[in-house]
């Protein structure tokens, strides 16, 4: 009590003070409650009315998902408007690794639904592991509608899986155009970064050109993407489509290539490894740039399998290299007619002769010819391919003069073509040797170069251009994109007599007493002129060039033009390690036969393909199956090719187009496509839209 006295007096609490306190305090609390209520109302008003616009926008961006529709790629057409590359409507399934928590299980589930084998599943897993995660990886394309539907209904259990309708690139003649056209594929991380992170590039199903013309004409072919606004749930399931803007198909690109001829030439190369170039002498149009063996761009465009790619990479015949542009070969004797024109320009008369005694002494050394030709003038030097003649006159006029003409004729040059790269090779000259090897030109350099050996390197396209320039006397420039403009070429100052002389000599190579008698065309009125060439790969001490290991055999070359008196077509055939020109000129003969008479040409090809075991596509497929079997992997059978689109650029199509009138009337639609590219693109859009369900 004492303590309390000193402290504060204890407050008096009675029933009424408590009641008062209760009333007071509950009033305060009630007021606080009311205040909070007003605060909540104000807060709600602020969010719902003052900030309504902002939140409405956010709600819309939640609800609505804008997705791009990949544009249909423009077609690549041949000179007659037939598609070398087109699109096929298909159903596809992609997976976005980033949105898939358990990729392993999801891929396994998909493999079950889509009947994928272990090999394909392994390919997908590898791509999922290697990819950047945000980028969709294709699981399968070209699947049936039933499979597509099966995946679609299981979507809730398959996070990150995107089934969709799309288009896949279709190359009707497959390997025949592989190197020429290239292929398409999903953009990789670098390409995405290069193109300003264009969202189109990571849109599932969108593919960009990866090589050759597909890459070169990417911007023309791309088109404008469509857009689809869909309502989606928080988990990304599509509830309904709100609106769709259709894509605009890319522009068609029309090439100078003759589809059936390209296919024919590629197939005619057969089991060999080589290339065929044919061009129009008057316009410079490249009609055919076949390079074999090749890959099937259809496989690449669907995402080539691990096993198939390994097969291509390991092949010693380098099916991944475009030999037309990137194959460099010593031209051998094929440059001899061109060298003759250099001699003519230097004042050598065609009638001047030398003695070939199985060779000729140049300086203080004796250089062998391949035979003893006796007395040789210019014509005989060409059709008999006498080396001695060229040793002598190259030495006489100086090789700098010859090299100058080689450049004028197109060797060692790059052409303004829409291609990824061209190897321009080497035309040796004293100046070049000094610059490149820092050593003086020697007489034996002249000797070697005069017959297209030594440092000389050319690609088949250059040989074809050389042939066209020699045949016409004009500086023909090759072109790959179709144009109605008739180009005007610069004329070399040769008299018609001089050109006629060389033409005649080259005709005699084939039709006279020359080295390529078997190259004669099976026509009375059309004669082909040409020049054989054999390029040594290794010295005679290693191999004789005709037998032994494949890679030691000589290259076989042949340049040609036809008809010899009014040249319309010129070209070159190069067969790698063909064991001599005998491997090359029969191909040139058949290609030219097909050019003038498709039926006769096909007849020859059919007989050969029967021996070889099918056409290029069939052989590639069976080779892949054999390779895969050797690797212990199984490969599904090749799907049947039933689209009639194939019929227009296959070599057989030309046959059908040239059938007698009576027959043509029975089969109603004309096989010859005389529509403009715009019309084709329009009708293709319609055709592509059709199979949608």
């Amino acid at each position: 009590m004492r303590l309390r006295k000193r402290g504060r007096p204890r407050e008096v609490v009675t029933q009424s003070t408590l009641d008062n306190a209760f009333d007071r305090r509950t009033f305060v609390i009630g007021t606080a409650m009311g205040g909070l209520g007003v605060l909540l109302a104000a807060r709600m008003g602020y969010i719902a009315i003052a900030e309504n616009e902002k939140y409405e926008l956010e709600s819309e961006s939640n609800r609505v998902n804008l997705s791009l529709i990949p544009p249909r790629r423009g077609w690549i057409l041949d000179r007659n408007g037939a598609p070398l590359a087109s699109n096929r409507a298909d159903f596809r399934v992609d997976i976005i690794p980033e949105r898939t928590p358990d990729a392993e299980a999801t891929i396994t589930a998909l493999a079950n639904i889509l009947n994928l084998d272990e090999n394909q599943a392994a390919d997908i897993r590898k791509r999922v592991d290697d990819g950047p995660g945000y980028q969709p990886v294709e699981i399968a394309s070209g699947i049936s509608y039933d499979q597509f539907a099966a995946v679609s209904v299981r979507l809730p259990d398959l996070p990150g899986v995107v089934p969709q309708r799309g288009f896949s690139r279709l190359y009707p003649t497959g390997p025949s155009v592989g190197h020429l056209i290239g292929y398409v594929g999903t953009a990789n991380a670098e390409e995405y970064a290069e193109q300003d992170r264009n969202p189109l590039l990571v849109t599932p199903g969108y593919k960009i050109g990866k090589d050759a013309l597909e890459k070169q004409f990417e911007q023309d072919l791309r088109g404008i993407p469509g857009a689809r606004r869909v309502e989606v749930t928080a988990s990304g399931r599509i509830v309904r489509e709100l609106e769709t803007r259709e894509d605009i198909q890319g522009d068609p690109v029309r090439l100078t290539i003759d589809g059936p001829l390209q296919d024919y030439a590629a197939r005619r190369i057969g089991l060999e490894s080589g290339s065929v170039v044919v061009m129009d002498c008057e316009s410079g149009d490249l009609l055919c740039m076949a390079s074999m063996p090749s890959f099937d761009p259809n496989s690449f465009s669907q995402g080539i399998g691990r096993v198939e790619y390994a097969m291509l990479r390991e092949d010693e015949r380098v099916p991944l290299r475009n030999k037309v542009l990137k194959g460099l070969y010593p031209p051998g004797s094929t440059v001899k007619p061109m060298h003759c024109m250099a001699f003519l320009d230097a004042g050598v008369k065609p009638e001047e002769t030398i003695m070939c005694n199985g060779g000729r002494r140049i300086g203080n050394r004796f250089f062998n010819c391949w035979s003893n030709h006796g007395r040789v003038d210019m014509a005989k030097a060409i059709y008999q391919s006498c080396d001695s003649y060229f040793y002598h006159f190259a030495q006489q006029v100086g090789f700098a003069k010859v090299a100058e003409w080689a450049h004028k004729m197109g060797l060692g040059e790059e052409y303004p073509l829409p291609v990824q790269s061209q190897f321009f090779g080497t035309v040796p000259s004293p100046e070049w040797k000094q610059r490149r090897h820092d050593s003086a030109w020697q007489p034996y350099d002249t000797v070697n170069s005069s017959i297209g050996q030594g440092y000389y390197l050319t690609n088949p396209l250059q040989l074809a251009v050389m042939s066209a320039r020699m045949a016409t006397g004009f500086k023909v420039m090759p072109r790959l994109r179709m144009s109605d403009k008739q180009p005007r070429f610069e004329h070399f100052d040769f008299s018609p007599e001089e050109i006629g002389y060389v033409r005649q000599a080259m005709s005699d190579t084939v039709n006279g007493p020359g080295t390529a008698g078997r190259a004669r065309l099976p026509f009375e009125d059309i004669k082909m002129a040409g020049k054989t060439g054999t390029a040594q790969v290794v010295s005679l001490s290693v191999s004789d060039g005709r037998s032994g290991p494949w890679k030691y055999r000589d290259h076989g070359l042949f340049v040609f033009f036809a008809p010899f008196d009014r040249p319309k077509y010129a070209g070159a055939v190069v067969i790698e390690h063909g064991g001599g020109s005998g491997a090359a000129y029969p191909i040139a003969r058949d290609v030219m036969t097909f050019m003038f008479d498709p039926a006769k040409g096909m007849q020859a090809l059919r007989a050969l393909e029967e021996q070889w075991g099918g056409n290029a596509q069939q052989r590639l497929n069976s080779k892949y199956r054999a390779y895969a079997a050797a690797q212990g992997e199984s490969v599904p059978p090749v799907p049947a090719r039933d689209e009639d689109i194939f019929d227009r650029v296959e070599a057989e199509a030309r046959l059908a187009a040239r059938q007698p009138e009576g027959l043509a009337e029975e089969s109603n639609p004309s096989r010859v496509d005389d529509r403009t590219p715009e019309e084709i693109s329009r009708s293709s859009a319609a055709a592509n839209a059709e199979p949608e369900q």
């Binding site: 969010i47 409405e56 989606v232």
Partner: protein, 372 residues
Amino acid sequence: MSGIVPAPIARQPWQMLFPLFVLIAFGALVLFSAAAGSWEPYASSHVIRFGVFLVMAFVLSRFSRDLAMFFAFPIYVVVLLMLGAVEVIGFVGGGSQRWLDLGFIQLQPSEVMKPAIVLMLARFYATLPVGMVPTWRALIPAGALILTPVALVLLQPDLGTSLAITFGGAMVMFAAGLPLRWFLGAGLAAALLAPLAFFFGLQPYQQKRVFTFLDPESDPLGDGYHITQSKIAIGSGGFSGKGFNEGSQSHLNYLPEPHTDFIFATMAEEWGFVGGLVVLGAFAMILGWGLSVARASTDRFGKLLAFGMTATIFFYVAINLMMVMGLAPVVGIPLPFMSHGGSSMLTNMVCIGSLMMVNRWNRTAPRSGLLR
């Protein structure tokens, strides 16, 4: 209130029942929409539960004051035992658990503890001699009565419910006339201890919730997702809403828990600011009636009981609405009478029943009580 309407019906507290029915009906409509335009599974059970618990509330309202006071302590003990049982089962079952399966209902004892603590404390202060109110004897037992269940609930762990129990108990203590300086002191101590409790007492997930509440936009797809989506739902509703069954946020699953904790956002998206005012107004009428019942009561038990029950309902409403509008961190507290869920409906209807009980006492008791 004469003539046509029979007396037993006219007698009922319609100023509370009418807004209550509005809330239940409105809640049923929103649940109908939240189930993508279907009475199943939410709306029908919501209405049925309300019917059952309304009957229970009427039965409860018939209890006499003596009976209520008699049962206060046993009820408190039973609920406390159930809380302990939850802990034991959770411990044996190897995982945290908040409910007991009673066969007909999955009961959350922590929910029932909210009215039980109010009843217990009202009885405690009603029987405490008036002179002892400002002494430690008014504080220590009450503190123990509150902290025991709060500790058990915190163990679950369930911060929201333990706060609700503390709030309900503290409100009764405040209304009981305990010295104001104690509350000020406690408030000061809480302010000082809060940072310590935050860093040492809270689970990491709870700490995260507080951080995201402070800055929801920092992680809109992660922890801030709930608040962000809720505000989007309310904000996109605008003045009059997107229309019944037209809410994209709830229908497309952007809004989490559209039928329980975030039902107000679901409602606001479809009915807009107008719907929000209706809900706020209905709650204001119910809570105002609760306060008037408390103030009209002539005895201390009735006053404290009615006030505590009103405060308990208020706590639910206030925390839930602040949460959905981004004014409070995400704590799992549903909105009374609208959210789908049996335990919260039970608790709130017990509160309503108790209020009706006190209201009935008020009518039968003499206006000015000489008796306590």
